[in-house]
Amino acid sequence: MASLKDLRNRIRSVRSTQKITSAMKMVAASRLRRAQEQALAARPYAERMERMLGSLATNLRSQPNAPKLLAGTGSEQTHLLLVATSDRGLAGGFNASILREARRTLRQLQRDGRQVKIFTIGRKGRDALRRDHAKLILENLTEIGRPRLTFANAEDVAGRLVARFEAGEFDVCTVIFNRFKSAISQIVTKQQLIPFAITEAKEQDKADLQGAIYEFEPEESEILTELLPRNLAVQIFTALLENAASEQGARMTAMDNATRNAGEMIDRLNITYNRSRQAAITKELIEIISGAEAL
């Protein structure tokens, strides 16, 4: 059995770990609130942008000279996966769940005979994917949005994507990130960015507007060529914000568990410590008494 001194040291070390995890939990909780507010504040813009694009896109998609960002390149050979992870660890399953989904998608695409390229955001994603897919990685961005994520960050990413898209480096781009549901639950989400996908819900919206003909200033196609890259940036911005909130949520939950576990461990160690102390005292007493009796 461990000596009393060893036990005391052990208890002290677990106690200081607990202090660290509970501090991290507090920090994550306050960052989470900020991240959530930011994500919420950004929602109106994204919604209205979507509505506007919805009314623009339908009549243009079928036209032969529709912009490639909307209609696609006509091929689906090369896929680009935009994997958004965090820079810091200790966030529970946050990064692992994104990476699992990324790897699954990658394997599936490769099985279908497609070419896959990877663009990572965040140090964790880069480090993990570099191990077995180093050749596929086109670009890494780390320490993005510190101390605060701004729209310029998203525009930067979008600019890089568009440049590569126009250089013909890929046909389809999908982003993988964690959608924030609550502090304890984040949902891994895959969303197609290029070509721009109009979802079912948006189709519904348009039904209401049918017959409504918009006037365009300047030309429809001109607006679209400006609007599409901007929409890409907006979608990336939303994804990054959701990701930031998810990261803090996951970290908060993970650190809460760690704090609780450390507490349990301290209790257990305390019991062992008290028992062995008691045992040592009893042993000494027996020795004294039996010594006295022998006289």
Binding site: A41, P44, R48, S55, T150, F151, E215, I223
Partner: protein, 152 residues
Amino acid sequence: MADKVKFELVSPEKLLLSEDVAMVVVPGGEGNFGVLPGHSLLISTVRPGIIDVYADDQRSVSQRIFVSGGFAEVTPERCTVLADEAIPVGEIDRAVAKSEAKEAEGHHAGLKDQVARATSDDRSEVLAQLRAAERRLATAQAKLEALRSVAH
């Protein structure tokens, strides 16, 4: 409300303004346009300039907001402006705006030189940078212009 338009000003980071107003004048890509209730459907680009909000009637401006560009969507009931960046005119710092304009100007001139010297390989990249600089310069100048018009 039949005699009001729902005006919304949104930037990527937040919803800045959402209220019922009598009229708004938006600096469109091809000239300013005023939006009254019942305006026909319109989608337009927005150039750097000032949005004038007329809250109660069509004679007095209640709010002036500088936008650095974006898009506007107009329907008979509402007018939505998706701005890249928006600041109330009163909150623009003259000194900051001036130094921004100066910097943009210098940057722009430097890039022009670079374009002249650029080889065909990196030409497109430099040209893209030049376009970005031009946009920044236009925004900065529009900001100063906005300040000047308020001063009068």
